[in-house]
């Protein structure tokens, strides 16, 4: 039942968005953070055959069934997380860049991230002054069960503080910032370990950027429902 084929007709030169009828799973193995259960991963393969040509393209992606919720607790002001309905005590580490010359090898990511799991951590926070981390980083977070808090590229030290205040309105090109943010979300959004997008470090992004980020990253109404929503849904389209 986990194999589906749809017929699609695409006009010449066109680019279309296509949504499959949803696939039903009865009690699938869920993905859990480190220390809460297994990091069950499925392999989702999408391929397209064109009449008169044969297989035209294919792509595959690891996917974990999990629901992540978080909110700021009014009593403590802290952010509380739940995974698959279960509250989780976040034990996390700061992550800046793996190497100042960006020699970002899979081997190094695997070693660094497994180290965090061995330290019994269940979250890694990617600091806003560093990188939007790469798919290889998220791949090993998926495997070792490290939730990821990923900040965009705003920091309190560089943006909007200090005497005199530096970069009070953030980067010069807000459209470029949003283009990079949207492309980064599309690059990373299918990873089960991605738990939270955060505007920046110790600073709220400029108002227009912050509003655009909130708008683009809110849960798509299609997935709002009484039984709790989908996994973190970053519907940019």
């Amino acid at each position: 039942e986990h194999l589906q084929t749809q017929h699609v007709s695409i006009p010449p030169g066109a680019s279309v968005q296509y949504t499959f009828p949803e696939l039903f799973f009865y009690k699938p193995n869920l993905w859990w953070p480190n220390g809460m259960g297994k990091q069950s991963l499925y392999n989702v393969e999408i391929s397209i055959d064109v009449k008169g040509f044969g297989e035209s393209d294919l792509c595959s992606h690891h996917f974990g069934f999990r629901k992540i919720e978080s909110h700021v607790d009014s009593a403590t002001g802290g952010r509380l997380f739940k995974v698959n309905g279960q509250p989780i005590f976040i034990r996390g580490g700061n992550w800046i860049v793996s190497d100042g010359l960006l020699r970002l090898s899979k081997k190094r990511y695997k070693t660094d991230i497994k180290f965090h799991a061995d330290m019994n951590f269940n979250m890694i926070r990617c600091w806003g002054g560093g990188l939007a981390e790469r798919p290889e980083f998220y791949h090993y977070c998926d495997i070792y069960g490290l939730l990821v808090w990923q900040e965009f590229w705003i920091t309190g030290d560089v943006d909007g503080r200090g005497v005199p205040v530096s970069n009070p309105d953030g980067p010069l090109d807000h459209e470029l910032f949003m283009l990079c943010a949207r492309d980064t979300v599309k690059l990373l959004r299918n990873h089960p370990s991605l738990a939270l997008w955060v505007g920046g470090n110790e600073q709220v992004p400029p108002k227009d950027i912050n509003e655009a980020l909130k708008n683009d990253l809110k849960l798509h109404p299609y997935f709002e429902n009484s039984n709790g929503s989908s996994n973190l849904n970053n519907d940019i389209s």
């Binding site: 986990h2 194999l3 035209s56 002054g129």
Partner: protein
């Protein structure tokens, strides 16, 4: 016929400082390609930054030892052109009828000019954006292709004040790029501000229709017993006629060993 799928271009790259190369990108990718590591050309680290390439060739000391970083000239003093570098490589790709190929850059800091077999395409500014160029029509039919990329540093590399401090003079914040590179309490200033082809370069071969950025979302009901997988993807038909397609999705879980449950 080239195989459908992605091929990484991560070997055989050369690099040279732009101020030491008198040729244009068109000349480099047609009549006068570099023939090896002679003259200004050196083995390059791709993906990687300019400093990673200079370090690999022992042209700078390793900035992470002692005070070695002090002996590497900062971009504020050298000027941006000092860290503006050419990167060059060749690759094979023999297409058959109705196949298409994209040249993909997953991350370039901060902007670049791409030359392929004498044709120029620009990679606009921004460290955190992917670039995908349809190069089907400019490949060499015999399969050997010459690629040169001129990479420019961030527009606002800034200057590190004598007292240092978090993010130097904060100028880097004017660009959409990583901010730690002007130095922070935990790291020295990065002299080239991480300029370079810092993430994966690949070519991807497809037929007339390609799959772009699938989006996978799950929704849960009845206390996680009833679960749905919602899949949306962009499809691009690059041919000149209507494409009648069969679009397949298959979900498997890896059991022990190589047995798959569908």
């Amino acid at each position: 016929m080239a195989e459908i799928g992605k091929i990484k271009l991560d070997t055989g790259w050369l690099a040279a400082r732009s101020t030491e190369v008198d040729l244009t990108g068109v000349q480099l990718t047609t009549t006068q390609p570099p023939s090896g590591t002679d003259g200004p050309w050196m083995e390059a680290v791709v993906p990687g930054t300019v400093l990673a390439t200079l370090l690999k060739n022992k042209l700078v000391p390793d900035p992470f030892y002692g005070l070695e970083n002090e002996s590497i000239i900062d971009i504020a003093d050298s000027g941006r052109e000092y860290y503006t570098f050419w990167f060059f490589t060749t690759f094979q790709c023999k297409l058959s009828g109705n196949q298409h190929v994209d040249l993909n850059f997953r991350g370039v800091n901060y902007s670049a000019e791409v030359y392929l077999n004498g044709h120029k395409k620009d990679l606009p500014k921004g460290m955190f954006r992917r670039h995908s160029l349809d190069v089907t029509d400019i490949l060499h039919p015999d399969g050997e292709n010459l690629l040169a990329v001129l990479v420019h540093p961030p527009d606002h590399p800034g200057r590190i004040p004598p007292e240092g401090g978090q993010g130097g003079d904060h100028e880097i914040g004017k660009d959409v790029a990583t901010q730690y590179v002007e130095g922070w309490d935990w790291i020295i200033p990065i002299r080239d501000r991480n300029t370079g082809i810092w993430d994966e370069v690949s070519i991807s071969v497809t037929g007339p229709v390609k799959i772009v950025d699938p989006h996978l979302v799950s929704s849960f009901f009845d206390n996680y017993k009833r679960v749905y997988l919602h899949t949306t993807t962009e499809l691009v038909n690059r041919s000149a006629w209507v494409a009648e397609c069969s679009l397949n999705i298959q979900v498997t879980t890896e059991l022990k060993g190589s047995i798959c449950l569908v």
